[in-house]
């Protein structure tokens, strides 16, 4: 199951190459099949990982101590699920939008999916790094070849920022590797081995700083965000969807999975600063979003604001904060994907994204208007959607942490209302500009895609415990690793599927069937 999550995108990419020799539709169909299969596998994986940690561990490069080690716990599996879910959408939204070099577009898309999946599942630091860098070149091509506007420049900036950040990350990894050799004489990049390394406070600061820069660029954390403003709007719809929906999550994921685990003291020492940075990011994103005249740029800044909301939840590092952050990661992925999808649809219809040339779409395209209304409000935390629950968790955690932080967080939620309303009214209300020619409403493909996204958000809103209940932690963490480990020791036995007595989860019939399937 674990290996399949990697094999399917890889095989898919190869088959797309073959199918692309026949015609463009063939490439699209094969890519769609591949992503749907990935989604299926990811779902089964998540169903298993909910009850047990699933592992694969092979020595890969002996001379260097690199292991091909994958591990899926609940959180990793959720992220893989999100990735494959959004990959299906990435293929689907490109159906009409991408007409040039269709084959290579889908090959890059599938390689991107592979890289992201490796990042989420890797249990070996070098494997993680490989996955991390594997996202780089596909994204360079997706933005640079199929983007709009200053696409080459945006692609360039994205790659330079990410790669420079990852150099710092690699330095931290190599330092850990080196310290492990000094301590034990064994060369290994396996996370379980490297977690044994005892670093002094000073070392932890430097190591954490390296990770912070590497992951902060991708997330992005405030001073490292400038690539986003170019990359998000200028990417093709599938690109912005993957960037905001999935790639930003890799940064957040790395921060707690690796940064916090390997340098817990560094993390807790930097925490106050980071919390303020995240808060600043929320307000900054919201503020700039409000003054944008371009739909995609507005969504990009709004996404920046929301990602910092998630980061705030991570940095507060309480159980509520963490649960909220995980939930919000999923919901933000879905709602931003939907917004970029709509923005892409508008752009495709009129080749323009400026508010000045929009307006009155509500009358011309009621279905699109309805979806737009729903997702704009969902992203600001409409009750009934998952975003609401996530924000509630994080705000509660912030209040618990300190009343000032909590108060500011609550105000930030209010801020989101401003730009969301602006986004909606500018596009949908007001007089139709005379220049607006034939503007068809959403077609059935778009309706289907948007409905699925909307339904997912509502499900997450109504049953958030499906996500949060397995994140069932006891004490306040110094590192998520320890939290997750406690979890796996008390409730699970790794590598073996066992229903826990302590588990408070309602186990549905479907789950039980899946479990049986998995055991066979």
């Amino acid at each position: 199951m674990l290996m399949l999550t990697l094999i399917i995108p890889l095989a898919g990419a190869l088959f797309v190459l073959l199918a692309g020799r026949v015609n463009a539709t063939g490439a699209r169909v094969v890519a769609l099949i591949s992503t749907v299969l990935s989604l299926q596998v990811a779902y089964l994986l998540a169903a298993q990982a909910r009850f047990a940690v699933i592992e694969v561990d092979n020595l890969w490069i002996p001379s260097f101590g690199v292991h091909f080690a994958l591990q899926a716990d609940w959180i990793a599996a959720l992220m893989v699920l999100l990735t494959s879910f959004l990959s299906v959408f990435a293929v689907a939204v490109s159906w009409r939008e991408i007409t040039e070099r269709v084959t290579s577009f889908h090959v890059w898309l599938l390689i991107l999916q592979l890289g992201v999946t490796i990042v989420f599942l890797a249990r070996d630091l070098m494997l993680f790094y490989l996955g991390w860098e594997l996202m780089l070149i596909p994204m360079l091509f997706l933005i640079g070849s199929w983007g709009t506007g200053r696409k080459e420049y945006s692609a360039f900036k994205f790659v330079l920022f990410t790669f420079t950040g990852s150099i710092f990350m690699l330095s931290s990894m190599l330092y850990l590797y080196y310290r492990h050799i000094v301590d034990t004489g064994v060369a290994s990049f396996h996370m379980d081995d490297l977690l044994q390394v005892q670093l002094s406070q000073g070392e932890q600061w430097w190591v954490f700083l390296g990770f912070l820069i590497g992951f902060g660029v991708k997330a992005p954390l405030l001073p490292l965000h400038t690539w986003l403003i170019d990359a998000y709007p200028n990417a093709p719809t599938a690109g912005s969807l993957m960037l905001s929906g999935v790639l930003s999550k890799t940064g957040i994921y790395g921060l707690f999975r690796i940064g916090e685990s390997f340098a817990p003291v560094g993390f807790s020492d930097f925490r106050p600063l980071l919390i303020w940075l995240a808060l600043a990011g929320i307000f900054y994103g919201a503020w700039i979003a409000f003054s944008q005249r371009d739909i995609k740029r507005l969504i990009a800044y709004a996404s920046l604001s929301h990602v910092n909301f998630i980061l705030l939840g991570i940095f507060i590092a309480s159980d509520e904060g963490f649960k909220g952050a995980i939930l919000q990661m999923l919901c933000h992925g879905i709602s931003t994907a939907a917004l970029f999808l709509i923005a892409g649809a508008i752009q495709h219809r009129i080749s323009d994204r400026e508010f000045d040339s929009l307006g009155g779409l509500w009358r011309i395209a009621p279905a699109m208007g309805a979806f737009f209304l729903f997702f704009a409000f969902a992203s600001l935390g409409l009750p009934g959607t998952g975003n609401f629950v996530g924000e509630l968790y994080i705000t509660a955690a912030a209040l618990e942490y300190h009343w000032v932080i909590g108060g500011l967080t609550a105000v930030a939620v209010l801020f989101a209302a401003f730009y969301s309303l602006r986004l909606f009214t500018a596009a949908m209300h007001g007089p139709e500009p005379a220049a607006l020619p034939n503007f068809p409403d959403t077609n059935s493909r778009e309706n289907l895609l948007l409905s699925v996204l909307a339904i997912m958000l509502i499900i997450l809103g109504l049953f958030p415990s499906v996500i949060t209940a397995p994140i069932n932690t006891g004490t306040l963490p110094t590192g998520i690793e320890t939290r997750m480990r406690n979890l796996s020791e008390t409730n699970y036995s790794s590598n073996h599927i066992m229903l826990s007595h302590h588990s408070t989860l309602p186990i549905t019939v479907a789950d039980a069937a899946l479990l049986q399937e998995a055991e066979q």
């Binding site: 490989l130 860098e133 070849s145 420079t164 190599l174």
Partner: protein, 474 residues
């Protein structure tokens, strides 16, 4: 007792080069010219077989001139394979094909002499054979002013380097009275070096620095690379540099006395090489700056050698292993990049704008160039990544944190110009291309390019396999 069999590889290479020159006067027609290529390949294969056959079998050396240990055999084989690659892919010049391949064989000879060097005189000999060959190869298109200028420039500057080298060696000889590297190594152990010897070795390092184009002796590189035919430039970047580094390996005892000089050469090359590439708009010059930076990385590996040289490459990665690995990895990527570039654009000066749209009009060489450039940049899913990682992690292991981080930052800077090549190759539409003539490459050349580009990717998934191949079993 001296066993002359030890110089069998060198003998095969030199004799076949001379034979090739004679044959070429008889054969100037088309099919015969292809035959010349295969004769050279055969000669290199025979030399490789001789290398493996003689490895450690007949005592270590001929009077201490060449060292036939398994380690030096590995290094020689790596260098020979790079030259063989150049032989396979280089386009056959319209006239004087025989001379071209003979020159390539002489370059192979020089590389092998350097890789197995055991004596200062042998070192000088090897460097001169290699350099003389390359002067001619750079100026091979002697009807072109640029090419001729490049050849002369290389001749003058490398001549200056040789002068430094010879002077340094003379001073060292004056102090110790021996040319044997093993004896020189022994005589420095536990003793502080006399001032004249310090100075002599310093001069020696300056000479090697010129050959390597390490900063601050790098000025000649961009002009020469641009003027040279693509495969000659590739050879200067790969085999010639690899051989010079290999020749430096036995001098690891200098790390005690001349550490700061070597570290400065290393750090300077890693930073300056990458910085200079940033503003460059001509592709071959960019690759030249990239090669300067790569010399820095190789020197970083050299700095981390602390003990006696191993008799053979060990199973786990050590500094020597990382260097040999990197010589191959970098060599094949640089050669591949130059060749792929030459396959698409035959003119001497290739600016970034000339690359526009080639991703679509010439998909195969362009894709190969993409992979080789990714490998040079050291991004994952290319062997370049593992090469760099091995070097940097040995530096981390040896405790050279600062230098390793300088190297990492250098490679982050360097990514800028590598990505620029990719962007110009793929993301600017061909309508804006001022010149859209397309060169034809032979299908054979294409096949070699594709195979090696595929190897760059495949070995990145199994880097240990490549290391095992390089390590050999003799």
């Amino acid at each position: 007792m001296i066993s002359w069999l030890n110089v069998l590889p060198e003998a095969i290479l030199s004799v076949s080069a001379v034979v090739l020159l004679i044959v070429s006067t008889l054969a100037q027609s088309g099919p015969m010219r292809d035959l010349l290529r295969w004769i050279s390949i055969f000669a290199i294969a025979a030399a490789s077989a001789a290398l493996i056959y003689t490895s450690g079998k007949f005592g270590l050396s001929v009077d201490g001139w060449t060292l036939a240990t398994p380690f030096t055999t590995s290094v020689s084989l790596v260098l020979l394979s790079l030259v063989a690659w150049a032989v396979l892919t280089s386009p056959i010049p319209d006239t004087s094909a025989g001379e071209w391949f003979a020159l390539l064989l002489f370059a192979a000879l020089g590389s092998v002499v350097l890789a197995r060097v055991g004596n200062l005189a042998a070192l000088f000999l090897g460097i001169e054979v290699l350099s003389l060959t390359l002067y001619i190869m750079v100026g091979f298109k002697y009807t072109s002013r640029l090419s001729l200028r490049g050849g002369v420039m290389y001749l003058v500057l490398a001549g200056v380097g040789s002068a430094f080298l010879a002077y340094g060696m003379a001073l060292v000889y004056a102090v110790y009275g021996t040319l044997s590297i093993a004896e020189l190594r022994a005589s420095t152990e536990g003793v502080t070096m006399p001032l004249i010897a310090l100075f002599g070795y310093g001069m020696f390092l300056v000479g090697v620095g010129f050959k390597l184009a390490a900063v601050p002796f790098h000025m000649w590189a961009p002009d020469v690379y641009e003027a040279a035919p693509s495969s000659a430039a590739g050879l200067i970047a790969s085999a010639s540099k690899g051989a010079a580094i290999a020749a430096l390996l036995p001098f690891s005892f200098l790390l005690n006395s001349h550490f700061l000089i070597i570290a400065a050469l290393c750090a300077g090359s890693m930073i300056v090489g990458n910085l200079l590439g940033l503003r460059e708009t001509r592709v071959k010059r960019i690759l030249a700056y990239s090669s300067i930076a790569h010399v820095g990385y190789l020197l970083l590996g050299f700095l981390t050698i602390k003990t006696e040289l191993p008799a053979s490459l060990p199973a786990t990665m050590t500094a020597e292993g990382a260097i040999v690995f990197y010589i191959f990895v970098y060599g094949i990527s640089a050669l591949g990049a130059f060749t792929a570039l030459g396959a698409m654009r035959s003119q001497t000066v290739v600016s970034l704008n000339d690359l526009h749209g080639l991703g679509r009009t010439r998909p195969i060489p362009a894709a190969c160039l993409l992979l080789f450039v990714i490998s040079l940049a050291g991004l994952p899913l290319s062997i370049g990544f593992w090469g760099k990682l091995y070097l940097f992690s040995t530096a981390f292991k040896a405790g050279f944190l600062k230098l390793a981080i300088i190297g990492l930052i250098g490679s982050a800077i360097g990514l800028f110009y590598y990505v620029r090549i990719i962007v110009h190759l793929y993301m600017v539409s061909p309508e804006m291309n001022p010149r859209s003539e397309t060169e034809q490459t032979s299908s054979f050349q294409n096949a070699v390019l594709i195979a090696s580009a595929a190897a760059v990717v495949i070995f990145s998934i199994f880097p240990d396999m490549l290391y095992f191949l390089i390590r050999g079993i003799y």
